[in-house]
């Protein structure tokens, strides 16, 4: 028993396959994160070329999604993974779809940046945009971090804070609607910012999904569609059982 290294599979190749999945996923995550940052910056600085760059990189993310899917399928077919290995593969399959959607939403934000350049800047909404964007980026970053370190605590924070972002989004929308009623001429421009906000809010939801997948990966508990309070109780109960 003493000299067994339980962190390693007997099959080296299997180890490498799983390790590769993990690295590839994190790389895709890093790329997606950069896309969101760039798209937000493109709106804020009215930088059309940066927005174009985001739109070009989108295809790279799609390509990585297909590649990761292919690799997951290969591992399933060739290794019949079980337990934590199985959960890792399932998690990557699900979370890759979320990452790809985050990429799509970043693309939408970039599209709005271009629209704002063409229609003229919005009179309102930039403060809210920056605020929500920084919150959302933190969520995405934390969710990826939670995956990199199998860290349930970080994942829990993402699930919790996503609802704060949702709340801020609703407040921002209410404010912008009020403004549009006061100044109907600005509607089309303000709408562009609203679409971007909407995309950011969706990104937060996807980050939350990824965090939920991380909890599934580590604990084997499916916590999707579960209110945060219940989720916390379940994890608490589980930790209690373990001790």
């Amino acid at each position: 028993m003493d000299n067994l290294n339980l962190n390693q599979h007997i099959s080296h190749q299997f180890n490498e396959d799983l390790e590769h999945l993990r690295t590839q996923f994190l790389e895709m995550g890093g790329l997606v994160e950069e896309q969101v940052t760039d798209a937000v910056r493109a709106i804020e600085t009215a930088d059309g070329s940066l927005a174009e760059k985001v739109r070009r990189t989108e295809s790279e993310i799609d390509r990585r999604e297909l590649e990761l899917d292919r690799q997951c399928m290969m591992v399933l077919a060739r290794r019949q993974p079980a337990a934590s290995d199985l959960r890792l593969v399932l998690m990557v399959i699900r979370a890759t779809a979320d990452l790809e959607r985050i990429g799509d939403e970043a693309n939408k934000v970039a599209k709005m940046a271009i629209a704002l350049n063409e229609d003229g800047v919005s009179p309102r909404g930039y403060v809210e945009l920056r605020h929500i964007a920084s919150g959302v980026l933190k969520l995405v970053n934390l969710a990826l971090d939670a995956f990199a370190r199998f860290d349930v605590d970080s994942a829990k924070i993402v699930v919790r804070d996503d609802s704060l972002v949702d709340q801020e989004y609703r407040t921002a929308i209410r404010e912008l609607v009020t403004y549009m009623m006061e100044d109907p001429r600005s509607i089309s421009r303000v709408m562009n910012i609203m679409w971007a906000l909407r995309a950011l809010e969706r990104i937060g939801d996807h980050a939350r999904n990824i965090a939920e997948h991380v909890i599934y990966l580590v604990h084997g508990m499916d916590v999707r569609h579960m209110p945060f309070k219940e989720l916390e109780e379940q994890i608490e109960k589980r930790n209690g059982n373990k001790k």
């Binding site: 390790e19 600085t45 019949q80 933190k138």
Partner: protein
């Protein structure tokens, strides 16, 4: 409106290689190594127990092979026993119809009850016991007789049928249930040893069920068979589980995952974990189970 993003958001894109542990690590810390008074995790006991084992210890001379096993096997349940070589799973299985009696130095302590009856009691006769608890071995071992005789032998010596018509019927039903009838019905007089490996194994299963046992023990029934024959045996196990209680020892984890309702994991003579098969293969409770089924040792 030329707001610039003064402070870069608190993000460092991880496009380059991410900082992470050198290997993939098991998320849950382990309760290792297994101590002397280890208690099985999971659900070892059930309500409708056919077999009830309590504090079973098995010794070969001085050496202890099985430690304090508490386990129930439910009625019409398929239970799979898995674990690395030498973990005591086969030894344990052989206790269930007193197959270990044939080994002089083997000693069994504790209680093993079949339908509430102590099978190691001195008044228990092993011949009817082994008719009630049949066994299929790793290597197909048909008698050097005809296919018909192979199946008819048990019912004859146990006095289950005396007339030729009754015997014919038992042979046909048993072969049918074992999924072999269509392949051998025209050559029942041919020697059983002339069949292919997979057919021989199904013949042995037919021979086992011919005496209407209540429990069937299988000790790696497929390890000498090709994938197609294996699939047929597995199909048969699913079918048989409607009427029989089945305990199967297997080296193939995928097989355990496919055929069993519950899975028991043995390690160094201790029963580490028993749980629903689905749970064992997705979220096992014990880190040793996890390490074994994910192929980290064994």
């Amino acid at each position: 409106m030329q707001q610039t993003l003064e402070q870069k958001p608190p993000v460092s894109p991880k496009v380059s290689a991410p900082p992470m542990a050198p290997t993939f690590s098991i998320p849950e810390p382990a309760q290792m190594p297994v101590s002397a008074d280890y208690k099985t995790v999971g659900v070892p006991l059930v309500e409708n127990a056919k077999f009830a084992m309590r504090d079973v210890n098995v010794f070969y001379g001085e050496k202890q092979a099985v430690f304090n096993v508490n386990l129930d096997i439910g009625e019409n349940e398929v239970i799979a026993m898995i674990g690395p070589s030498g973990c005591g799973k086969s030894t344990f299985l052989r206790c269930l119809n007193r197959m270990n009696d044939t080994i002089d130095i083997c000693r069994v302590t504790g209680s093993i009850q079949l339908d509430g009856e102590e099978i190691y009691a001195s008044k228990m006769d092993v011949v009817p016991l082994r008719a009630r608890v049949g066994m299929v071995f790793q290597k197909p071992n048909p008698f050097p007789k005809s296919i018909y005789e192979n199946v008819a032998y048990g019912p004859k010596i146990h006095g289950l049928a005396s007339r030729r018509v009754d015997l014919d019927e038992i042979v046909e039903t048993s072969l049918r249930r074992a999924g072999l009838w269509e392949e051998v019905k025209d050559r029942l007089d041919a020697p059983g040893t002339g069949l292919s490996g997979g057919q021989q194994q199904r013949l042995c299963i037919a021979r086992t069920i011919a005496v209407s046992p209540e429990v069937i023990l299988m000790d790696e029934p497929c390890s000498a068979l090709d994938p197609i024959a294996t699939a047929k045996i597995e199909e048969l196990i699913a079918e048989l589980s409607q009427n029989y209680t089945i305990a199967i020892v297997t080296h193939s984890m995928q097989q355990a995952a496919r055929v069993s309702h519950r899975t028991a994991y043995f390690h160094l003579g201790k029963l580490i974990e028993v749980n629903d098969t689905q749970k064992v293969f997705t979220t096992p409770d014990h880190a040793l189970t996890e390490a074994y089924i994910t192929g980290r040792f064994g």
